[in-house]
Amino acid sequence: MSSTAATLAPPEVLARYEAVIGLEVHVQLATRTKIFCGCPTSFGAPPNTNVCPVCLGLPGALPVLNRRAVEMAVKAALALNCTVRPVSRLARKNYFYPDLPKGYQISQYDEPLAEGGWVEIFVNGTRKRIGVTRVHIEDDAGKSLHEGFEDSDRYTYVDLNRCGTPLIEIVSEPDLRSSEEAYAYLTELKLLMQYIEVSTCDMEKGHLRCDANVSVRPRGAETFGTKTEVKNLNSFRFLKAALDYEIARQVAILENGGAIVQETRLYNPDTGETMGMRTKEYAHDYRYFPEPDLLPLRISEEWRERIRAEMPELPSQKRARFVEQYGLREYDAQVLTLSRDLSDYFERAAAVSGDPRGTANWVMGDLLGALKAEGKEIPESPVSAEQLGELVALISRGEISGKLAKEIFAKMWATGDSARTIMEREGLRQISDAALIEKIIEEVLAANPKQVESYRSGKSGVLGFLVGQVMKATRGQANPALVNELLRKKLG
């Protein structure tokens, strides 16, 4: 919970309430061209150069729907377990704004592309299904720049490159009960869209945008409270902070005997607060009507099933398989499926090591730790999946100790060499020669008579110290299990 939220309502007061949250998420589809014209969707082009008569809304220009955008939208809908309508309809949503040159957005209204799906989330060790009300396609608006020019006090600058970029809007049921659940839901949505490759979901580029409907009610109440719509939740950090703030704000009002006003509120990341937007009451009368320039969208069963057949294994299926096939814990399966790169890396490494659980520990621990420390992603890892698999195999076959393996891993990371190459070069090999270890043990015992005496007088904890001395004398290369065994024998 953010500090701003805590000042509004103390935790014991918040605990008496339950939040009810639904999210509206816009996802930019990764097509090459726009939804109704052949202009590229590339990011970062000079202003007003990825434009044509259609996306500029010039009189007489007619939209033609992009087949790839439809396919991606259907794929997303299927991944969200939705039912795809055989016939859906494009509709005009009418409003005036400078970055919307047509004077309307082409969206879908009463007959959306798909309805009635769900997403599974995993929060605090519990699985929960969040309903997906609908998925529909629409075009994006351009960009308004309100600041940054010398006459920005008098003018707004408009770039229409983004205008006409294909989006899907995914509307959830009000099934989310906390900011943590909302966070988990958005994380899962992002992961799904990336897995099925319909969007890169790059939040900094606005590929994933989120608005939330939020209300609170006393715990145990059946009816919903009055909701507010919170806009501008365009990063995972903002989402949680803004929801925590808004929940606390509403609870504070109710605790003081007030009433929630149904309104649109804007999250301000600088103050951590949500602010009511002064909108005229009829601003939401969009006068939707069927788009006369486009035919109803027909998705044949055959087309739909072809798209379904292309579907890769989804994160939830992969998690279930990791638990089943590799005997991983739920949590580990969750972490290892956080990206396709990561899960592919794990599977390749596990195939080489023959020890999936050991591999999982190394991937989630040392590998992710090293990547994080250097701000790198999986594809940039200097240690390949096969190399890590080999290292894990050496440990599980008892050729090297875990401690030595960590040392070798650090060297693999620095040089890109394989574990075997490093071991040979540096003479690092686990000592499993009993006679050699016994000799070292004798030296260690001779050097530590006090400890030997206290062990023999019953202080068995001293054993750890003695093991440590032997390991130190062998630069960590002695087989620890063997050292233990032989030490006990010697000490009697």
Binding site: T33, T156, L160, T279
Partner: protein
């Protein structure tokens, strides 16, 4: 009466139209006529007939889709050619305060 002057004023405001009192009265009368005509159409029994927004409703929809292939775009000067005000490659509009 099918439509009031108040409703016409509301619709005009949504469309960003400023109507004089005279225009308001005339628009109301014309819209009234249209709505009365709609009533006449409503006399037909359309039970079991799906609403039709386009006359090409029965066409094979997928035949009207385009492939995801780039086409030539306007250059910046062409894009801005009709703009009443432009600068730095952008369209310039009077300051927008709120959405």
């Amino acid at each position: 009466m099918k439509i009031t002057e108040q409703e016409v004023r509301y619709v005009a405001e949504l469309a960003h139209l400023a109507l004089t009192e005279e225009e308001l009265a005339r628009m109301r009368a014309e819209l009234e006529e249209i709505l009365v005509y709609m009533d006449k159409l409503n006399e037909l029994d359309t039970t079991g007939v799906a609403p039709m927004a386009q006359v090409l409703y029965e066409a094979e929809e997928t035949a009207t889709l385009r492939e995801d292939i780039e086409r030539e775009t306007f250059d910046n000067a062409t894009a801005l050619a009709n703009a009443p005000s432009a600068g730095g490659g952008y369209f310039k509009v009077p300051k927008v305060i709120e959405k």
